[in-house]
Every structure is written in structure tokens, then in C-alpha cells.
């Protein structure tokens, strides 16, 4: 549903462009707009707006002519989406185990067949004895090994008996425990058929049927964060020093163009390009391939993402605006980007981190942005519900732009 909406938006934008550029109607419209505005001199405020819009327009045009930029900002995050999306697709836990059957009994054969058909287990086919099993466990290729001893399944007192042994190494204690309780359950089912006893206490689990957050929900909001960083930091960090070295910015320095006008135009174009590439990503994520679902309001989501782009782009603007050349910019950008890339919840959800690290990473600039995007898109929250995220992002924006304005140099 949501995917369709985004696709429609994109098609409309492209169609609009074609109509404006290629048809007589569009050309006339453009000409009319031009002559009309030429007749009336612009007021100083209009002039300033015109300056900003023209700069923004041209840098957007430039972007869509740059195949390398399109690859890195649109295709690259999509590749990540495909990779991470397929990881997080299957929700069921499965164990890689070795199964060593030393028994010849009929019961043990049946037990092996049952275990193989159990979706919770992936049985390593190469494991036939305990030695290979141990070697594989030490390399963490399998989580644990179940051994059915020779006596397993022998008939005693009218029914088969036996004890399976779980081998595990110290790295996989919890996996072994889970495995044990799973097998326990399997055995209890068998036991109750063999000996009819009524257990006084039992426990069963029932699904509540409410939509919780899947791994994909974290993946998509994280990848939007990744996209924002790629476009907002790596773009200007490469491009600004290059423009300085070539003297392109110097030519602007000679003009009355103000730094703030240059900044606003850059932010505007970056926001448009960013929203465009993120819309494509969401459209792909919402396709039947991934089943990502946006519950929240699209406009609120777009507004919050634009705000996030503004904030993060400030970092790129500060580094690229400060650096005299690429060699100066790249290391600094890496130092700032990498902690955010791994600790803000881009690739790994933050809830999986140790508690102290969660506390620290709460305050990274990208964290409230990713959290906010997730809360709006998949939890259906409104902008009014995510005050802390907006507040923290705004605080960062103020700090970042104060620095960016201070350190900017034209050449």
C-alpha cells in the first residue's frame, strides 16, 4: 500500500519533469514565468530568496546528472536493504546442531527423522561422530551437539527408554540450555504417549496477535539513518574541498553571496535529494519483497526526516567547509561518522547493546533521528509524541551549525 503511494509520487515527479521540459505547454509556461518576473524588479527579500532557490535548483540538477552520486546515495543503501532485509526476514530462532546417532534402535531412527523435520534445528550433515562435532563447535560453526548413545531407544519395561546427551562448549552455554529445554519438550510429548500420566502443572504459550516490531523495522529506520549520513556527510566532505582546490568557491567568495545563503541553498538541495532517495528506499522496502509497513503519517515522517537531514548535513558542511583539502577532511569525517554508523542503531539495533553503551549512544546526533523515524513509521507515533527526539536533534542542529558557520572558509 505505502509502496504504491511512493511509486506514484516518483512517477508523478518524473512525468512532471518531462512535461515541463519537453512539451510546448511546459516551455510556454516557463517563458511566461520568466517574462513576467523580468518586468517587475525584485525586492531585496525576493532577491535573497531568488539567490537561494537558484543555487539549490542548480545543485539538485547537478546531482541528477551525476551517476556516481546516484549510485552511492540511492543504489548503495538499496543494496544494504536487500542484504540486511534478507537476514531479518526469518523471525524463527534456529539452532545449528550436530546430531550423532550411535544407536541402531528403531526408536532412535524415528527420533532423528523427527528432529530433522523440526524447523528449530538445522542439522549439520558433516557431523557423524563426536570428534568432528567438537572441532566444529570450537569454530562456532555449530551451537551444540546432541548425541544419542548406543543404548538409546532400548526397550525396557515395555517401552523404549534412553537419555540424549547435549555437548556444548563454554561459548554456547545459553544455546545449550535452550536446546535442552526444547528437547525436554519433545521428550515430554513422547513420554506422555508412552506412559499415561496427568501432569498437575503445565504451561503453554499463546501469541497475543498484536503487531510488535520486527527486525526489519529496525533495519529500515537504521538504513534511512545510513542514507542520511552518506548523503549529508560523505557528500560535502568530498565535494567542498574539491571545489576549494579548483577555485570554484573562490569565485563565489568574490560575489556578495553570503555564507548563510550558500548554507541554506545547500541544505535545501540536500533535503530534496535525501527525501527522494529515501522515498525510493521505503518504496522498495514496502514492496512484497520485504513487507515493510508504515503505520504513521507520511507528512510527519517526511518532515522529521528532512529535519534529520538538516542536522546531519550540518556536520558535513562543518567538516567540508573547514577543510582546506580532501586529506584534511577525510580522517575527521571518519572519526565522527564511524561511531554513529555503528552505535546509533544504523546496522545493529541499540537494544542489543550493553546498558552503559545504550546510555552513551543515546546522545549521538544520529540516534534520536533514527529512533524518531522508527517511532513515526512503525509505531505510528506523532511528532507531538516524540518531543525528546526532536529536542535532542534540535540541540545538535544548533551546536553543529554554530560550529559550521564559525569554521567555514571559502578557500
Amino acid at each position: 500500500m505505502s509502496g504504491r503511494i511512493f511509486l506514484i509520487i516518483i512517477v508523478l515527479i518524473l512525468a512532471g519533469r518531462i512535461v515541463l521540459k519537453r512539451t510546448p505547454v511546459g516551455r510556454n509556461l516557463k517563458a511566461a514565468r520568466k517574462t513576467k518576473s523580468n518586468q517587475q524588479p525584485m525586492s531585496p527579500t525576493q532577491k535573497q530568496i531568488y539567490t537561494v532557490l537558484t543555487f539549490a535548483k542548480i545543485s539538485i540538477l547537478r546531482y541528477f546528472r551525476d551517476r556516481v552520486a546516484i549510485f552511492f546515495t540511492i543504489l548503495f543503501p538499496l543494496i544494504f536493504l536487500v542484504v540486511f532485509g534478507s537476514f531479518s526476514k526469518s523471525n524463527d530462532v534456529s539452532f545449528h546442531i550436530g546430531l550423532v546417532n550411535q544407536s541402531q534402535s528403531q526408536f532412535s531412527q524415528k527420533f532423528v527423522a523427527d528432529t530433522k523435520s523440526n524447523k528449530m534445528f538445522k542439522i549439520d550433515k558433516e557431523v557423524n561422530d563426536l570428534t568432528t562435532a567438537k572441532a566444529k563447535m570450537s569454530r562456532s560453526e555449530i551451537d551444540a551437539t546432541v548425541v544419542l548413545p548406543p543404548s538409546f531407544g532400548e526397550i525396557e519395561a515395555g517401552h523404549p527408554t534412553g537419555q540424549a546427551v547435549i555437548y556444548y562448549d563454554q561459548n554456547n552455554v545459553s544455546a545449550a540450555q535452550t536446546l535442552q529445554s526444547v528437547l525436554q519438550g519433545q521428550f515430554e510429548g513422547i513420554n506422555s504417549k508412552l506412559v499415561s500420566t496427568k501432569a498437575p502443572f503445565t504451561v503453554i504459550s499463546r501469541s497475543t496477535n498484536t503487531q510488535g516490531l520486527s527486525k526489519l523495522d529496525y533495519t529500515v529506520s537504521g538504513l534511512i539513518g545510513f542514507s542520511i549520513i552518506g548523503l549529508g556527510i560523505f557528500g560535502p566532505v568530498n565535494y567542498f574541498p574539491l571545489m576549494k582546490r579548483q577555485g570554484v568557491l573562490r569565485r563565489l567568495h568574490i560575489t556578495p553571496l553570503r555564507v548563510w545563503q550558500f548554507f541554506v541553498a545547500s541544505v535545501l538541495s540536500n533535503a530534496v535529494i535525501g527525501l527522494f532517495s529515501i522515498a525510493i528506499m521505503i518504496a522498495v522496502a514496502s514492496s512484497p519483497l520485504f513487507h515493510f509497513k508504515i503505520i504513521g503519517n507520511y507528512f510527519e515522517l517526511a518532515a522529521f526526516i528532512a529535519f534529520g537531514i538538516l542536522t546531519i548535513f550540518g556536520i558535513g558542511l562543518a567538516i567540508g567547509g573547514w577543510a582546506k583539502n580532501e586529506n584534511q577532511a577525510a580522517p575527521l569525517a571518519n572519526i565522527i561518522v564511524f561511531p554513529m554508523l555503528f552505535l546509533s542503531g544504523t546496522f545493529f539495533p541499540r537494544f542489543a547493546m550493553p546498558e552503559w553503551l545504550q546510555h552513551v549512544t543515546t546522545f549521538l546526533p544520529l540516534t534520536p533521528i533514527i529512533d524518531g523515524i522508527r517511532m513515526i513509521s512503525t509505531e505510528g507515533k506523532h511528532l507531538t509524541d516524540i518531543g525528546p527526539q526532536i529536542g535532542l536533534t534540535a540541540l545538535w542542529a544548533v551546536i553543529i551549525y554554530a560550529i559550521a558557520f564559525r569554521v567555514f572558509r571559502w578557500e
Binding site: T51, T54, F55, I58, R62, R65, G247, V248, R251
Partner: protein, 252 residues
């Protein structure tokens, strides 16, 4: 009575304790083409950059049309046009769009085609800057520097690295700009360029102006001091031959 549009008084600039401009003074008349000549490192570019508001002035005053450069740099920027040494522009942007953007920096809306016609580049209007030849880039960057019709036009070594034909074409263009009433100030280290274009030249060496007059007067003064060129001067030289053989299409 000539009116001075640019006045430079006792201008100083040091980098890291080394003085590169040592208290120079000169005035430029309205509507003239003024050349600053000198070897590399003489301080030409630094002097120009101080007048253009690109570098802070250590000591001394510069006024353009009565406006103090140090105090009202923003006003100065509307009055001057600058052709920088680098001809680089943003890539993947059409010439018309580049001009539109350059004019927008001054808050002005222009007709890019008209400007491109002036520099004979209307056929390249939809081309990107990176696909132009060196001479075309130079001409385009002149067009870009003139989008706002400045009063004073600065050119920093405009013909360095150009072949003779492109150079002559550029000279024609600079003369055309001058004919529109603009004051032109240029730096060069080609003497024949100064002779071809400039009414007056200042010769700089090691941060000081060592001579300031019209090219003709400077030559006469040298001859008056008893200078004789040792080599017999031919009626034509190799450049004339080159231009005669290849320059038939000059100006096309």
C-alpha cells in the same frame, strides 16, 4: 581632468613575517586599462586580491569609486568583477545555468544567451564547462565575471597557458569590454600583452612599484637613458608567422 576610480595608498601585506607588498601606491583612471606587470612572486596577485576584498589589508587604504574596500567589502563586491586565475566551475552544469547561478549570487536574473553571444559561446550554451577548450573556458569565465555589469573588471594573468590565437581572441574581448566603458585592471607577465592592451602599466618587483607610466613613455625613458638593444630587430617575428599561417580564422 581624469577621474580616478581606484585609489591605492601605501598598501602593505606580510605573510609570516615576510613582506610581499611593501607600501605601494597608485591610481587607476576611470575607463582605462591598467596593467600590473612583474615576474612571478612580485606581489601582483596579492595586491589584486587585497583590492578585490579577498585578503585583509595589513596597512594602507584602497577605495573603489570612493568606497573603502576594508570597511565596506560587501558594497565593493557589487561594483567589481573578477576573472580568477582558475577557470574551474562546477562540473555537470550547463553554461547557461552557471551564468544564471553566478548572476543569482548578485541577486540578479539575467538572460544567459545574451551574455554567451558576447563571448562567442552561444553554440556551447547547453554544454558543460568541462567539455570546453582552454580558450573557451577563459572567455566563459569572463562572461561569468561580468554578469552584474561591474564598474571595475579585474583579470589575473588572463592569457597564461593559452595558445597565441586564443590569446589574441581574448585581447579582442578585453578591448570590447573596455569599449563598453568598464575600467580594466589586469596582471600579466607578458610584455606584448601589456603593450597591446594597457594605457598605463605599473611594473612591480619584490613588492614594490619600480615604474608607472604608459608603455610608450617607459620605452622612451629607457632609450633616453642610452639603452641600445644589441640584437637587430626583425620586421616580423615567429609569432607573426604563426598567426599569418594559422590565424586566418581569427575572431570567428
Amino acid at each position: 581632468m581624469a577621474e580616478f576610480i581606484v585609489k591605492v595608498q601605501d598598501l602593505h601585506k606580510s605573510y609570516g613575517g615576510r613582506e610581499v607588498v611593501k607600501g605601494i601606491s597608485f591610481d587607476v583612471k576611470k575607463g582605462e586599462t591598467f596593467g600590473i606587470l612583474g615576474p612571478n612572486g612580485a606581489g601582483k596577485t596579492t595586491t589584486l586580491e587585497m583590492i578585490e576584498t579577498l585578503r585583509p589589508i595589513d596597512k594602507g587604504t584602497v577605495t573603489v569609486d570612493g568606497v573603502n574596500v576594508a570597511h565596506q567589502s560587501q558594497r565593493i563586491r557589487y561594483m567589481i568583477g573578477v576573472q580568477t586565475q582558475s577557470t574551474a566551475f562546477m562540473d555537470k552544469v550547463k553554461l547557461t545555468e552557471l551564468l544564471e547561478q553566478q548572476a543569482a549570487a548578485y541577486g540578479e536574473r539575467i538572460d544567459p544567451m545574451e551574455l554567451l553571444k558576447q563571448v562567442n559561446l552561444e553554440s556551447q550554451a547547453s554544454n558543460y564547462i568541462e567539455n570546453l577548450s582552454g580558450g573557451q573556458k577563459q572567455r566563459f569565465s569572463i562572461a561569468a565575471a561580468l554578469v552584474h555589469k561591474p564598474k571595475v573588471f579585474f583579470l589575473d594573468e588572463p592569457t597564461t597557458g593559452l595558445d597565441p590565437q586564443a590569446r589574441h581572441r581574448l585581447w579582442e574581448l578585453i578591448k570590447k569590454v573596455r569599449a563598453q566603458g568598464m575600467t580594466v585592471i589586469l596582471t600579466t607577465h607578458y610584455m606584448e600583452e601589456a603593450e597591446a592592451l594597457c594605457e598605463r602599466v605599473a611594473i612591480m618587483d619584490e613588492g614594490e612599484i619600480v615604474a608607472l607610466d604608459s608603455p610608450k613613455n617607459l620605452v622612451r625613458q629607457l632609450l633616453d637613458r642610452g639603452f641600445k638593444k644589441e640584437r637587430h630587430v626583425e620586421q616580423a617575428d615567429l609569432e607573426d608567422v604563426f598567426l599569418d599561417l594559422t590565424g586566418k580564422r581569427l575572431g570567428n
